[in-house]
Amino acid sequence: MAEKLLEVTDLCKYFEVKRGLKSSQAVKAVDHVSFEIAKGETLGLVGESGCGKSSLGRTLLRIYEPTAGEILYDGKDVAKLSRRGFLPYRRRIQMIFQDPYASLNPRLTVGEIIGEGMQIHKICTKGQATRRVQELLELVGLKPDHIRRYPHEFSGGQRQRICIARTLSLDPEFIVCDEPISALDVSIQAQVINLLESIQKERGISYLFIAHDLGMVKHISHRIGVMYLGHMVEIGPSNDVYHDPLHPYTRALLSAEPIPDPRAAHAKKRILLGGEIPSPINPPKGCPFVTRCPYAMEVCAAIAPPSFEIENRRVSCFLYEQWRIRERGGRSIDSIPVNAPVSQSANA
């Protein structure tokens, strides 16, 4: 693998939720998540709403302060830095937000929006800034004379291009893309994806690409991480995860995805999961997926599974303990009889 840019170990982000006057509880939005991203690589992050994927992205940028864990960026633990100490890293780590209507200040012109970061980080003088902004606008497929316009004059796709130009203005090495295409129409999504890909090829930027559209994530990512209830349940090369998912949740998630191909859609075997994601305030004991898992065993309800290395992947599921794999004579879990989900603490 290429040189590591980011290495995250046991990262946690808990939010305090006030219950009544005194007592408070913690929502474990991100719970002991570990992964790494190489230079020029895209890590896709998928999961359903409330699984903590956006919280994870924001914690990496320290928009949310991490509760515990290490974020090694270029070999330095940026989680422990002071706010001021982190400032240089703010330039190198950037973010594209989901909603291009909310993430641009309606009172500033496009030139001011894109140029603001360069002035804060004192990258260039005002005169140079105008030229650079115009170059950036051209790079993302807009016209240089758009510089004096306001955001409301642009469509959703064009606004997302402005957001991309803004992040590129600081010449970052790593961009967190938090559902950058969810708010866009189908025909526009592909335009933005292609733009992000060509920028990556040119500049060798790494992406953390957060989305819930599995098809698009597979297309853009080199590796995919799957999150459920604050945990990273599986992570590995995108083709392997997509075509041969290991974790029962990944299998269900992929089988639930509607494929835009009628014959394949009818031929597809669906694993319908019962129930819905448990509340992160009161997650199940043991494995987070135990309440909906068709393969749940006794051990799953008692202790949280550690992550097991399977070939080039990591999966947090007891089904992939070495001795179990040996017993079944292979890592396929298709032969295991499916039992009804353990309805532990469903109403608790």
Partner: protein, 360 residues
């Protein structure tokens, strides 16, 4: 006979900036028992078409033309120029809404009234359309909730919407839609607000329930995956017009309209190789206040010719079920082989004039 027949329906909205032509000359039919998908991007008129059908449009709407037949009855919303006609129409629609035609809306969080128990909300429709006692309505509501897969319905009936999750609320909405055994169910993006695994549950539910009851479903969506999974036939809408209509297989495996081809090219298919770049449609959808002359898709079309910017394309049929509105397809095979891109249409010119004359 078709259950629903919409002929040449147009819907406009009067705004301070001018008239927004949200729907222009839209026609299609839906038969009993089929799932018909209306696909389009935001602003393509897919929701407006169904709101026009239900008579649920905003005050500033105008319907200049169009005929809607439901089950042989005329329920056209056009030409309601006198108060009497409007009242008659409203009376007719009140009987149908929630009775023979019901609707499932997109957002399960805002559809339900937060201060009424879900049981009350399911019973409301039953009591309005079926002559029965409260007790009977309650029994029917419990049966419906069991049908849509809500555990212990006797208890859940007396709970409020906030006590249900998103997926469960969507089930309640489906239960209210099914309450009076409708002949036609309109589902306006029923799963857009839901997570993938819950979406799969709800789609499965809609499928089995309609198979059982034999009701027709009109499915409005922008998600081609949902369409491929659920629909028998599809209409593709763009800027208020039907671009192409056909069986699901016809649309996905032999698309004729450049817009349909573009849509299919811009999504990632599981069969596709990752290294293969996506083929997006350049440009953005047109402003409905300032529609281009001729075909609305012309400014973004890779195969545009000169005539596309001058005249609306005529209908061309490929089979009994497959039709498309595009100049490319309306001409002879021989012509297409010599045809050239817009910049170089001189060779085509005489023939174009000819086909234009035929149209006129």
């Amino acid at each position: 006979m078709s259950l629903l027949e919409i002929n040449h329906l147009s819907t406009h909205f009067k705004t301070a900036q001018g008239t927004v032509k949200a729907l222009r000359d839209v026609s299609f039919r839906v038969s009993s028992g089929e799932v018909f998908g209306i696909v389009g991007e935001s602003g393509s008129g897919k929701s407006v078409s169904m709101l026009s059908l239900m008579g649920l449009l905003a005050e500033n709407s105008v319907i200049p033309e169009g005929e809607i037949l439901f089950n042989g009855k005329d329920i056209s919303p056009a030409n309601l120029n006198t108060k009497r006609k409007r009242n008659e129409y409203e009376k007719k629609m009140r009987k149908l809404r929630g009775g023979e035609i019901s609707m499932i809306f997109q957002d399960p969080m805002t559809f339900l009234n937060p201060v009424l128990k879900v049981g009350t909300q399911i019973c409301e429709g039953i009591l309005a359309h079926i002559h029965c006692s409260r007790e009977e309505a309650r029994i029917r509501a419990i049966e419906l909730m069991r049908q849509v897969g809500i555990p212990s319905p006797e208890k859940r009936l007396d709970q409020y919407p906030f006590e249900f999750s998103g997926g469960m609320r969507q089930r309640i909405i489906i239960a209210t839609a099914l309450a009076c055994k409708p002949k036609l169910i309109i589902a306006d993006e029923p799963t857009t607000a839901l997570d993938v695994t819950v979406q799969a549950q709800i789609l499965e539910l809609i499928k089995t329930l309609t198979d059982e009851s034999g009701a027709a479903v009109v499915m409005i969506t922008h998600d081609l995956g949902v369409v491929a999974t659920l629909c028998d036939r599809i209409a593709i809408l763009y800027a208020g017009r039907v671009m192409e209509e056909g069986l699901t297989e016809e649309i996905f495996y032999s698309p004729k309209h450049p817009y349909t081809k573009g849509l299919l090219g811009s999504i990632n298919n599981s069969e596709k190789d990752e290294s293969e770049p996506l083929q997006p449609i350049p440009g953005t959808p047109p402003d409905l206040l300032k529609l281009p002359a001729g075909c609305a898709f012309m400014p973004r079309c890779q195969e545009a010719m000169r005539i596309c910017g001058a005249q609306e394309p005529p209908k061309s049929a490929f089979s009994g079920t497959h039709r498309c509105y595009c100049w490319r397809n309306s001409m002879d095979e021989a012509l297409i082989t010599v045809s050239a891109p817009a910049a170089n249409t001189a060779a085509l010119q005489p023939n174009l004039a000819l086909s234009a004359a035929e149209e006129g």
